[in-house]
Symmetry: C2
Subunit: 243 residues, 2 copies
Amino acid sequence: MTYCVGLMLERGLVFMSDTRTNAGVDNISTFRKMHCWEVPGDRVMVLMSAGNLATTQAVVSILDERTKATQERDPSLLAQPSMFQAASLVADALHEVIERHADAGQRADAAFNATLILGGQIAGGPPRMFLIYPEGNFIEAGEDTPFFQIGETKYGRPILVRAFDKGLSFEAAVKLLLVSFDSTVKANLSVAAPFDLQIVETDALVLGRSRRIAPDDPYYTAVSENWGRALKNALDLLPDYEF
Amino acid sequence: MTYCVGLMLERGLVFMSDTRTNAGVDNISTFRKMHCWEVPGDRVMVLMSAGNLATTQAVVSILDERTKATQERDPSLLAQPSMFQAASLVADALHEVIERHADAGQRADAAFNATLILGGQIAGGPPRMFLIYPEGNFIEAGEDTPFFQIGETKYGRPILVRAFDKGLSFEAAVKLLLVSFDSTVKANLSVAAPFDLQIVETDALVLGRSRRIAPDDPYYTAVSENWGRALKNALDLLPDYEF
């Protein structure tokens, strides 16, 4: 499967995605699920994808081609006047790709589906983040729902629900994300490191810091080990049930 | 949905189930999903169910009726020579109920499915616990997989994976279960208190302590609140990521 999370903080957006893809359990590969575009000073966009790899790669290729030869191939992601228009464009591309294969006489009804998270900022507007459904519609993150997850979302959700705070520093946000990812990896074979990390600082209008966090990354392994211990300690500190 | 967990400890079995059932999101009810049978000194059995309520109630009714008029209505759960035979009987009843409705021209293919956890002990044998699938086959808990979850299993799994230990006291096991249930309740509307708790002590051959833990149970609310704080503290104690 996949696990991707986008956080909307006061100071900007933080994106993290895993890289495992699998067809069944015996055909495992590593693919990047995070794609970035920028026009320094004008716009920055990050797209993460979960679902059928052929679909998500086709969507990214379509969007990418259009940005590279904008004269011939409109509409381009880099020419949209707002993040809302950009999300519409991505949603249309996604719907188009899914429809194309659905029409090809295929019977695997859900197999070509994909879900996307698109976030970024265009000069003149605030940072915005969208969750785009395979049907081609989408929702936007706001005050009340300041983060989106796609893919194998359940294992890593409790810690996000409990500990997310829009005032987090980027450093603390990465820590929170790694704990959420680690909970997922520990419970589900279809999600695995390396993880891709991308920061988009508010009003910077260039791509911020990014990292590929390897399975043996010292910080990640330390978080993983210490979090297990910390959980046990936290549990020990709670009083036992009394009958 | 539902959330039920059965733990296999050295000192016995611990069962916990929620009580929420829902058809869609606007038809919410409370139903007991845990059913117990005992013949003091001879056997004790606990059955928990997740899935279609009509199916699981029918299975329990069939099993229950047979135990009450054993002469007429064999085979009875109370006459089986081993827990394995008891699990076979339950599995057959489940498969029979699902088949009956599947044959009735219904098209909702998965809608009648249910999954069960059966645990208990029969004199002369050890405590055993089984996970029974809608197809009528089942697997048994052992050293390597000492707990089973059914229903909405993902949210509450990370803490079980991290903190389960077969040497736990019953009191600590209930605490662990409540944390796992609370993580699920916080993230998913289809799981909710009250929770039913049943202990089966090894070689006691009578039903052990049992409780219904209400949504406003002081211990549960304390665990819920303190666990949120403990998680945040544990996270704070980890060093932040450094770019």
